[in-house]
């Protein structure tokens, strides 16, 4: 079983993000971390590979400036076998569809039976890239998996819904997205860390993949988040709860 995992290196969320004043793109430091949501995808991929046996392989696929490869190394140290990174200056600020086409091309070049991705990236938050990759690849997508298993040659998931979950399945080739909490991602081990640097990392350009950046997205302006308004103090003289209920209804949370 050939498993591709979509992963992304992002600036450390613990440090404040900086935007380039000219392009409005996020300034990407040399050291980027593995997007936390991707750890779940890597874990699911590793578990599927372990269940499938010795012939299974896990390949990380990523599109971003390579930088120090810190985030990629983290996923390799968890146990992935190799990585493919598309690093091309023309992809700077790529929109979701461009990203999907590029990643799909990279996955297609490697060959795959299963593609695993998180539900969305923590820096971009479009939440549509995995489904678009599936569409470009012509594979069915099983999304929002809270549990994944390989059964009778198919991938079966419990798909998280607002009411509970649906059980859905599809035969490979298939793409699935996993929610945070679907599995408990393993820590890298000391041995994994030492081995990570020996694992192959292929760096590709758009030319290598035969794709061109066709970016349809333009950032016209960026505005700071409005300052938080002061809260309303409700004096409770026996009726306070009614005002709180009304406020929650206005906020459409109840």
């Amino acid at each position: 079983m050939r498993i591709a995992v979509c992963v992304k290196q992002i600036p450390d969320p613990a440090a404040p993000y900086e935007l380039d004043p000219e392009t409005h793109f996020v300034v990407r430091p040399e050291d980027q971390v593995l997007d936390d949501t991707d750890r779940y995808g890597v874990e699911v991929a590793l578990q599927l590979a372990e269940a499938a046996g010795d012939d299974a392989s896990v390949t990380l696929v990523s599109m971003s400036p390579s930088g120090s490869l810190q985030g990629i190394r983290q996923a390799l140290a968890m146990g992935a076998d190799k990585a493919v990174i598309v690093d091309d200056a023309s992809l700077r600020g790529a929109d979701a569809l461009t990203t999907s086409r590029v990643i799909a091309a990279a996955i297609g070049r490697e060959g795959y039976d299963v593609v695993v991705a998180g539900t969305e990236s923590t820096d971009g938050y479009t939440g549509v890239v995995p489904q678009q990759i599936a569409e470009v690849l012509g594979a069915p997508s099983l999304t929002f998996a809270r549990k994944v298993e390989a059964v009778d040659g198919k991938i079966r998931i419990e798909r998280q819904t607002q009411a509970g979950y649906d059980v859905v399945e599809a035969a490979p080739p298939v793409l699935l997205t996993v929610t945070s909490g679907a599995v408990e991602p393993r820590y890298p081990t000391f041995k994994g860390i030492m081995q990570a640097k020996q694992k192959p990392i292929d760096t590709l350009t758009c030319t290598d993949l035969g794709v061109t950046a066709d970016n349809q997205q333009v950032i016209t302006s960026v505005d700071p988040v409005p300052a938080r308004q002061a809260g309303e103090i409700v004096e409770d003289e026996g009726e306070g709860h009614l005002r709180i209920v009304a406020m929650l209804e206005e906020a459409k949370v109840i």
């Binding site: 190394r73 983290q74 140290a77 081990t189 000391f190 041995k191």
Partner: protein
């Protein structure tokens, strides 16, 4: 220091492990006066964090010394000092002699399970009447055929209640002073051994510390580590590693304390502005940061010398005394700058002060370090 990507990645691993697997349990462990060391060490062993520099033949990782520096620094950042101390005992205080001098059988039977986290171990040197003055120990291990018969007591022993075995320093002959001592592996299930009392301490409250009593405890003579009679010298070498571990951890503790205090002083408003607007606080913290940075780089010099195979006795003594005094200073100032809330048990500063007071006492007191230095540098008659 020549830190590589692997070192940095390992630091990230240990830091996330401490935040996710250690810190959430510290309050509970402190309240219980006990940590589940078999569980924690087993989990750590699976990740390769125990016995970093030891031979892979026994479950070690064959890593270079910088990984130990990183492990100590990062456990120094934990929410309580007890776990770093327990880990230090397991990996760098009770086992170095066994790894270096122990027989194959002893290593397979006691070192390998310790590095897998299946066995917890202690280092038992201090006695009620012999602390820093190690040559004054009185616990005896007398030969009786193929066995040793041990009688005596050991005091302030870390991991005492959970230990599966101890590295005990005892007299194996009637030679006095530094001579005639041996390091002996004593399993905790040996008849005649008991933990007489669990000791109640000022700090490091999650760590189980005990008074041990040996009454005609019989162990095979083959449990002697290395050369019989060479125990004092072997233990002195083991102390050097222990002091280095302590000094490395102190840097992590101090950096964490200064970071937390900085964060608090940025938020805490007094007289209309955050406290960190006060130049006095800025400069005092900066002065402490100077000291911490100097210790960190002194530690790195120590680590480099150790990696080159040099005798680091003097390095370790200097680093240890500086670490003890600096920790006391940092703990005191951080508590002071928190004001009233800093004196509350619910605030980290209280435990930090209590836990780290030990640094100037355990593993050789400040005064013992000065004695070592006075001798090394010739301030001695």
């Amino acid at each position: 220091m020549p830190f590589t990507d692997e070192h940095h990645d390992f630091r990230r691993l240990v830091r996330s492990f401490v935040v996710q697997e250690i810190d959430p349990h510290v309050e509970e462990w402190e309240a219980k006066g006990m940590m589940p060391l078999h569980d924690v060490f087993s989990q750590m062993a699976e990740l390769g964090m125990i016995g970093l520099e030891y031979d892979p033949e026994y479950g070690g990782q064959g890593a270079d010394h910088l990984f130990t520096v990183i492990l100590a620094e990062e456990f120094g950042r934990a929410a309580g000092g007890s776990i770093g101390m327990a880990l230090g005992v397991q990996a760098d205080m009770a086992t170095p002699s066994l790894h270096e001098f122990g027989s194959e059988e002893l290593k397979q039977r006691y070192l390998a399970p310790a590095l897998r986290g299946e066995m917890v171990c202690s280092i038992a040197v201090t006695e009620p009447d012999a602390g820093s003055d190690v040559a004054a120990i009185r616990t005896r291990a007398d030969s009786d055929g193929d066995e040793l018969v041990i009688n005596g007591s050991k005091m302030y022993i870390t991991n005492a209640l959970q230990a599966d075995w101890m590295c005990v320093l005892a007299r194996t002959s009637d030679e006095g002073g530094h001579h005639g001592m041996s390091q002996i592996v004593v399993p905790a299930d040996a008849p005649g051994f008991e933990v007489s009392r669990k000791l109640d301490k000022l700090g490091m409250r999650a760590s189980d510390t005990g008074l041990l009593t040996f009454s005609d405890v019989r162990v095979p003579a083959a449990n002697i580590i290395g050369t019989p009679g060479d125990g004092f010298r072997q233990q002195m070498a083991q102390f050097v590693v222990e002091r280095m571990w302590a000094a490395y951890g102190a840097v992590g503790s101090c950096e964490m304390a200064l970071d937390k205090t900085k964060g608090y002083l940025k938020e805490r408003v007094a007289f209309g502005k955050p406290l960190l607007h006060n130049q006095y606080l800025q400069y005092r913290l900066a002065e402490l940061a100077v000291e911490v940075d100097l210790l960190k780089h002194y530690n790195y010099a120590t680590a480099e010398a150790y990696s080159r195979g040099e005798d680091t006795t003097r390095f370790a003594a200097i680093a240890k005394i500086k670490a003890g005094r600096l920790l006391r200073e940092v703990a005191d100032w951080c508590l002071q700058f928190h004001g009233g809330i800093g004196y509350m048990e619910e605030t980290w500063t209280a435990r930090f002060l209590r836990d780290n007071r030990l640094m100037s006492i355990g593993g050789g007191s400040d005064e013992t370090m000065l004695q070592v230095l006075a001798r090394a540098d010739g301030y001695w008659m």
